[in-house]
Amino acid sequence: MANYLANIVLIEDEQQIRRFVTAALEIENFQVFSAETGKQGLIEIGTRKPDAVILDLGLPDIDGLEVIRDVRTWSNIPIIVLSARTQETEKVAALDAGADDFLSKPFGTPELLARVRAQLRRRSMLSEASNEGVYAFGDISIDLSKRLVSKAGLAVHLTPIEFRLFTELVKNAGRVVTQRQLLKEVWGPAYVDNEHYLRIYMSHLRQKLENDPAQPEHLITEIGVGFRFI
């Protein structure tokens, strides 16, 4: 029992999906507690103190968004949301409510496992790096306290806004950050509708930090939803 990598609570009303997700996770040595309804799920999260939560947005009893909001009042545990492909607004709402990542149905188990691992890694990485404020992603490294960004050992000059935007992404590395969240944090609450700011500065960042800006490896766009830094 002590050998489990992590505890995960799965809230999903479809039995088939619950079953294969559980199976996939258990093969990878995760302990899974599954719940069929939102309320049951909240109880499970409260009692099991899991390392991550996988949550289906369409639940029979309460809205998945409410589950997220409820959990966020007392915990920062990673929440991965499952939703239908075309419901971008639903995803954005979940992310704005505090979810960390999303998966569109249908999804494969490798993809799911990758996301779960990424969330678990993110937690440990942030706790490690927070002391020094130095992060490294591939050949990109950033020192928050010294405000230094370098790529392949060479210093990269960023404008103040570019730096603020990059910092925000780094702080949320591995998470999907919505456009709204970024605009609010970097430019301020009055600018949440100026999406084009974000587009242009993201484009600048990619040109400065990515090997091929058209096929980025770190500054990923989640179309219609937001950005992810990995």
Partner: protein, 964 residues
């Protein structure tokens, strides 16, 4: 012999149309209720009693077999005890209360009767006039509706109420009854029972107070119930009943011997003029037509003279025509200068066999000089009988009302009616001009007299007379000739300054001038009239043509309504509304019309109840008709060949001073005909649009049916292929798991490899199915029109990046080249688009390229800007486009290769097209051509290029950033 036989067959062969009509009539009769009239000579003979008695005996008879629902609609007992007693045991329908001028009036409740739908209803006094505000002004119309609803009716009627006998009864009794019943109703009744009582017995009953309460009886008997009257009325009732029986017998005979039914019928035509006599003429014609069992027509010929009639006189004519219509005639208004020829032309065109005209008032002497209408008619009508009807003063002799004259009739005076009321419309202006011209002429003549002969000078006066006659018509013309002769005589003929004429030759001068004035003015008046008639006719046909043309081009019912309302408002100077039924056959309020709304919807106040009645019964109602005439609006059903399509509501303009004109514009016979023509044109247009809709829907459903079939076959193929693989592979895996694992290490390894291969296949095919489902859902979403573009300003680079990321797997074996740098400015500008949808487009195009281009080949994504657009191209080194499909590629369910193993229903490109077009861009495909290395004139296809455009727009500005 064979021929003779066939000829005789031909002679007696029933006309199919008539046969059909007969069958239809019979079928109609079966549906209708039957009408039984208890007919009597006058009040008090016991009609109501007999009716109630009949109802009772029917009831008692029916109780044995099956129950018959008999109710009393309305019975007036007049306080007679015997009648009241008869009412016992019968169900009496409550009367409806009307509030009329602060009085409560009780009236027969038609709607309640229709709602109850009994087998038989008793309705007293068929000729009764309903209280104002009822649906029909007359009770017999209520009865008609009951019969039409299939309800049998018992009713009562007095002889004096019959329309055609109305005037005769009036002459006999001295009392003209206003409540009349069209003879047609009486004739069409299924049964007429005569309730007869000898005059003496009736008088006895009257004295006993059995008919009226005592005081009333005194008064009644003095004026009406004189023995002479009663005998005459009884005789009439008996005769009228006998006539009916006679015609019944004839009909029976003709029914049994088919030959006679098809005999040529007489057709009567009566000429109506503006005199009060005309009404009588019409009644006489009606009686004649009835006795001959023939159709009849009433016509009014409008000549120049009659054009000048006052409006009230013309209204009288309209009333007379209306009367003729209620008596069963078909009416028409003709125009022309020569009454006789116009009438005869019309009569011949309608196969009329008898003409009825009124007798002239003119003396034999006048007729010798100026032959009248009847003379013209007798001269010209070689094939038509002419009946001349005597004048009112001869009416005392009851039996000699109609002077039947055959065609060799002695020359008779012109029709009297045409002589009266000939007003001259010329104003005083003409007379002033006549005086002025005469004065001018006199001065001119005085000046030239020294140089010209007196006889020549007269010509100048004559010229003046001609001018005045031609310009101002007869009155001023004659006046002009008078004063010209007078001034000529006074000033220029010796002895001068006196009217005495020494030379008798100037009498001739006077005579010539007078005649010239008459002739010229008549000629001019005729010409002018013809011009007016032609102009009006032209105006009418132009109006028809205009409306027809506009209607022909209209494609929606709303458009038709708009056009019709616009046209008709102008032509009839009235307010118009067109009401259409909804899908439940209920007439709805007119559709608001933006252009003329203030005139139509707001003031018209259409009564939907009346409109519904008109729509259901296909009869006109409202103003100027027999149904609800108190309404201010005339409702005309829009009858199209197949069915009624709606209701046209027309209301005369109520503005001060326009009312009379507006009413005339609607109710003049020719205008009414025009209105009817318009109504049927509109109806036909609406019907046409209706069928266009149906045809279009049929086409659409055919098209969608075809599409559905192609979708089904495409989807079934594309879904079945991966499904089959999945099922089969899953089966294989299971089979392998059941078989024991080999101990041999090589075999074991092989088995493991196989298993892994099967799992890859399962995964691959599932992804293929997933993609198909994604595309189908996308298409459904785009088709449903529910997709709202979420346009944002963004970089193309970003969306290309995400698409490439999504398509990583299928594109793994291709070499991707990205060229998104603008040659001139370096960077592409921000473009406004929906990233999610454009991502779909790119994914689909990339998927397509990956599918068709061979592994290891190059796929190039490039973009460049033009003046207004950004052009994005994706080119591959595949086999290119199939030659004949270039244009169809973007249609749904088209694919380069039929039944190919490559996945995708061909939905991808049509989704791309829908998305790009929603963005205001275009998408196209062409072949990449490369010139042949050996022969430069030849090219060969080296791949396909898909290009789409997105409009550039003006990107929002970005605030300058303070450099750190």
């Amino acid at each position: 012999m064979g021929m003779a036989e066939s000829e005789s067959n031909l002679e007696f062969r029933p006309n199919p149309d008539q046969l059909l009509q007969k069958i239809n009539q019979e079928a109609e009769k079966e549906k209708r209720g039957s009408l039984k009239i208890f007919f009597g000579a006058c009040a008090g003979v016991g009609k109501t009693f007999a009716m109630l008695n009949a109802a009772h005996s029917l009831l008692s008879k029916s109780q044995q077999s099956q129950a018959v629902d008999v109710i009393v609609g309305i019975v007036e007992t007049h306080g007679r005890a015997g009648t009241a007693a008869q009412l016992l045991g019968l169900t009496v329908l409550p009367l409806k209360t009307f509030h009329y001028r602060e009085r409560e009036l009780k009236e027969f409740d038609l709607d309640a009767a229709l709602a109850r739908k009994p087998d038989l209803i008793l309705v007293d006094e068929l000729a009764h006039s309903n209280v104002e505000g009822s649906r029909h002004p007359k009770r017999w119309q209520d009865v008609e509706e009951l019969l039409a609803a299939g309800i049998d009716v018992f009713t009562t009627l007095n002889v004096q109420h019959l329309e055609s006998l109305n005037d005769i009864v009036g002459q006999i009794t001295g009392i003209r009854v206003t409540e009349t019943l069209p003879d047609k109703v009486f004739d069409d009744a299924d049964e007429v029972t005569l309730v007869d009582l000898p005059a003496d017995e009736l008088l006895q009953r009257l004295q006993d107070g059995k008919v009226y309460q005592s005081q009333q009886a005194e008064r009644a008997s003095k004026s009406f119930f004189r023995k002479g009257n009663l005998i005459a009325l009884r005789e009439m009732a008996l005769r009228r009943t006998a006539d009916r029986v006679d015609s019944q017998m004839r009909e029976y005979r003709s029914n049994s011997s088919i030959q006679q039914v098809w005999q040529a019928k007489d057709r009567l035509l009566v000429c109506v003029g503006p005199s009060v006599e005309a009404e009588r003429l019409v009644r006489v014609a009606a009686r004649l037509a009835q006795s001959l069992k023939s159709d009849w027509l009433a016509v009014y010929v409008e000549t120049p003279k009659l054009q000048r009639l006052s409006n009230s006189a013309r209204d009288t004519i309209l009333k007379t025509l209306k009367l003729a219509e209620t008596l069963g005639a078909e009416t028409a208004t003709l125009s022309g200068t020569k009454v006789a020829s116009v009438v005869l032309t019309y009569a011949r065109s309608r196969n009329v066999s008898k003409l009825v005209v009124g007798k002239s008032t003119r003396s034999a002497f006048t007729r010798l000089i100026l032959p009248g209408v009847i003379d013209d008619l007798t001269n010209q009508a070689t094939d038509i009988d002419i009946h001349v009807v005597s004048r009112e003063k001869t009416l005392g002799e009851k039996d000699a009302q109609i002077l039947e004259k055959q065609q060799d009739i002695r020359r008779n005076g012109p029709h009297a009616d045409y002589q009266n009321h000939a007003h001259h419309a010329s104003s005083l202006k003409g007379y002033y001009w006549a005086a002025a011209v005469c004065a001018g002429t006199s001065i001119l003549v005085a000046l030239i007299l020294p140089y010209f002969e007196l006889a020549n000078v007269v010509m100048v006066f004559l010229l003046g007379v001609i001018l005045i006659s031609s310009k101002f018509g007869r009155g001023p013309g004659i006046f002009s000739s008078f004063i010209s002769v007078a001034s000529f005589d006074f000033f220029f003929v010796s002895p001068k300054f006196s009217f005495s004429v020494s030379d008798t030759q100037y009498i001739l001068t006077f005579g010539v001038m007078f005649v010239v004035a008459l002739v010229v003015s008549n000629l001019t008046a005729n010409l002018r009239y013809q011009a007016v008639v032609a102009m009006r006719r032209e105006k009418r046909s132009r109006a028809l043509y205009d409306l027809g043309k506009s209607l022909a081009s209209s494609l929606t019912a709303e458009h038709i309504i708009e056009i019709s309302t616009h046209h008709l408002t102008g032509i009839f100077q009235s307010k118009i509304a067109i009401l259409l039924p909804d899908s439940h056959e209920k007439i709805t309020q007119p559709i608001s019309n933006s252009r003329d709304d203030n005139a139509l919807r707001n003031d018209l106040g259409v009564d939907l109840g009346i409109a519904q009645w008109v729509y259901d019964n296909q009869q006109q109602a409202g103003y100027g008709t027999n149904t609800l005439p108190s309404s201010a609006i005339l409702y005309i059903p829009l009858q199209a060949p197949m069915r009624t399509r709606g209701v046209l509501a027309i209301m005369p303009n109520h503005e001060e001073g326009l009312v009379a004109h507006s009413k005339r514009m609607i109710f003049l016979p020719e205008q009414r005909q025009l209105l009817d023509t318009f109504a049927s044109q509109i109806a036909i247009a609406i019907e046409r649009v209706h069928y266009v809709d149906i045809a279009q829907n049929a086409l659409v459903s055919m098209e969608s049916e075809r599409l559905r079939n192609s979708v089904l076959s495409a989807i079934s193929h594309d879904l079945n292929t991966p499904l089959t693989t999945i099922v089969a592979t899953a089966g294989l895996l299971k089979q392998q798991l059941n078989s024991p694992l080999s101990n041999n290490l090589t075999d074991h390894k092989k088995q493991e490899d196989e298993r892994s291969e099967y799992i890859d296949m399962l995964y691959e095919q599932s992804i293929r199915m997933k993609n198909l489902v994604v595309n189908l859902l996308d298409m459904a979403r785009l088709q449903s029109g529910k997709v709202k573009l979420n346009k944002q300003w963004q970089t193309l680079e970003e969306v290309v990046g995400t698409a490439l990321r999504t398509m990583k797997q299928p594109l793994a074996k291709h070499h991707i080249v990205i060229d998104l740098t603008n040659t001139s400015t370096g960077d592409l500008p921000l473009i406004q688009f929906d990233a999610v949808l454009i991502d779909r487009v790119l994914c689909n195009l990339l998927d397509n390229a990956a599918k068709y281009a061979s592994e290891g080949s190059k796929i190039i994504i490039s973009a460049r800007t033009t003046q207004q657009d950004v052009l994005v191209s994706i080119s591959d080194d595949g086999p290119g486009l199939p030659g004949n499909l270039e244009n169809q590629m973007f249609e749904k369910f088209t694919r380069g290769e039929k039944e190919s193993a490559k996945a995708g229903v061909g939905l991808g490109l049509s989704i791309c097209k829908a998305i790009i077009e929603a963005h205001g861009g275009k998408i196209g495909a062409r072949n990449k051509l490369t010139t042949n290395e050996n022969d430069h004139s030849k090219t060969h296809i080296t791949g396909a290029i898909f290009t789409f455009s997105l409009p550039l727009g003006t990107p929002p500005s970005l605030p300058a950033e303070d450099v750190l």
